[in-house]
Symmetry: C2
Subunit: 196 residues, 2 copies
DNA sequence: GCCCGAATATAACGACTGTCATAGCCCATC
DNA sequence: GATGGGCTATGACAGTCGTTATATTCGGGC
């Protein structure tokens, strides 16, 4: 089979994404990871023979893809609706974990790559960010935003939401995300009005 | 003396801040830290008897204070000047480290606190964010921004810059920070125009 | 000169890390 | 019912972790 035994494998990847979003990449051990996913340690090396780097990269791709899927769907109802879904998604993760979990893509981005190399997980993080930005920029353009400004606006949205998530965790308060949400909504509404 | 032997101690704290900004908190070992600061391992426990947590907290306070000092000074010339200095500061750190270093305050914010406890380093990170926001909000108000909107604007600035730094590291490109800089400048200019 | 406390050096502690090798299980196919 | 391969279980490896204890060196006050 091409996909030998999905359930266990996917559980490991999803568990890795969750764990990385809490502790960071370097601080997540494969042993704890296996235990958290109720999978044996040996299995992680069976499914991911290239080791931790491969597993981390897949976890980032998994999380990034899941977010992109939600974003794409909700953006069909317009940029503001998409933004709200994006914010609600992260809000849920932070609140439900009692400020212990955040964004795994951000967590991977904040770790020094080995000299001269670009670890696969970091490349996956860059791709995830770019996917999100592209989706947002397209939606903005399609709804009348200045096409030249849309990419910058999309980058601002992703950056500020990611930063706000981290700030919420530090302060143990949802206030930063709420503040950012309010500013971004006003900003987007203004950018779309231009063409109304 | 109240301050027994500043040079060695301060070198350790500054080195810790730098190292945390690269690798993250959990992945920074005290041994490497001591080596990096050219201080003996025993000395770190001499100066910081409470161990790693205390050292990390002091490192975050050190970095947060240094940024706040620069911010306060440059904001005297107005919010836009302060924003530019804030951006230039981080830009320099990311570029000079070849995308390997980022913001130590953000790095500390992205790590799961022990169950039920709030580690001192995380509290220090929350304080640093609040200091920066307060400085920016005050400058915005003093230069004619809507007093009710100033805190939200300040939060957006800090969050988006922090997020952009991480995105730059992932993409190995300064583009996100440049995009965010452009959007924020336009946004602030608009917010101040209201009162001109 | 001596001496005391601050600062450094060295070694060790148990626990944990990523990774690998090996042996055993379980279930589908012939 | 035997055979095989995907999966699991177990244990080991060399190395590092945070932390502590002990021994040594150093610099300035009597």
């Amino acid at each position: 089979m091409v996909k030998p035994s999905a359930p266990s494998r996917e559980r490991i990847v999803a568990g890795a994404a969750d764990m990385i979003s809490r502790r960071g990449l370097n601080a997540t051990s494969i042993r704890e990871l296996a235990k958290h996913a109720k999978a044996p340690l040996g299995s992680t090396y069976h499914y991911f023979p290239e080791g931790k780097g491969q597993l981390a990269a897949e976890a980032v791709r998994y999380a990034g893809g899941a977010v992109a899927r939600i974003l794409r769907k909700e953006l069909e109802a317009g940029p503001v609706a998409g933004l709200r879904a994006f914010l609600a998604l992260w809000r849920g993760i932070v609140v439900e974990s009692d400020f212990r979990a955040g964004c795994p893509v951000l967590a991977v981005s904040v770790e020094e790559p080995a000299a001269g190399e670009v670890p696969p997980a970091l490349a996956a993080a860059a791709e995830a960010f770019e996917d999100w930005e592209r989706l947002l920029a397209e939606a903005l353009r399609e709804h009348g935003a200045d096409p030249e400004r849309a990419p910058g606006l999309a980058a601002l949205i992703v950056a500020s939401v990611e930063g706000a998530i981290a700030m919420c965790r530090a302060k143990r308060s949802m206030r930063p995300l709420d503040q950012v949400a309010q500013q971004l909504e006003a900003l987007i509404a203004g950018a779309l009005d231009r063409a109304a």
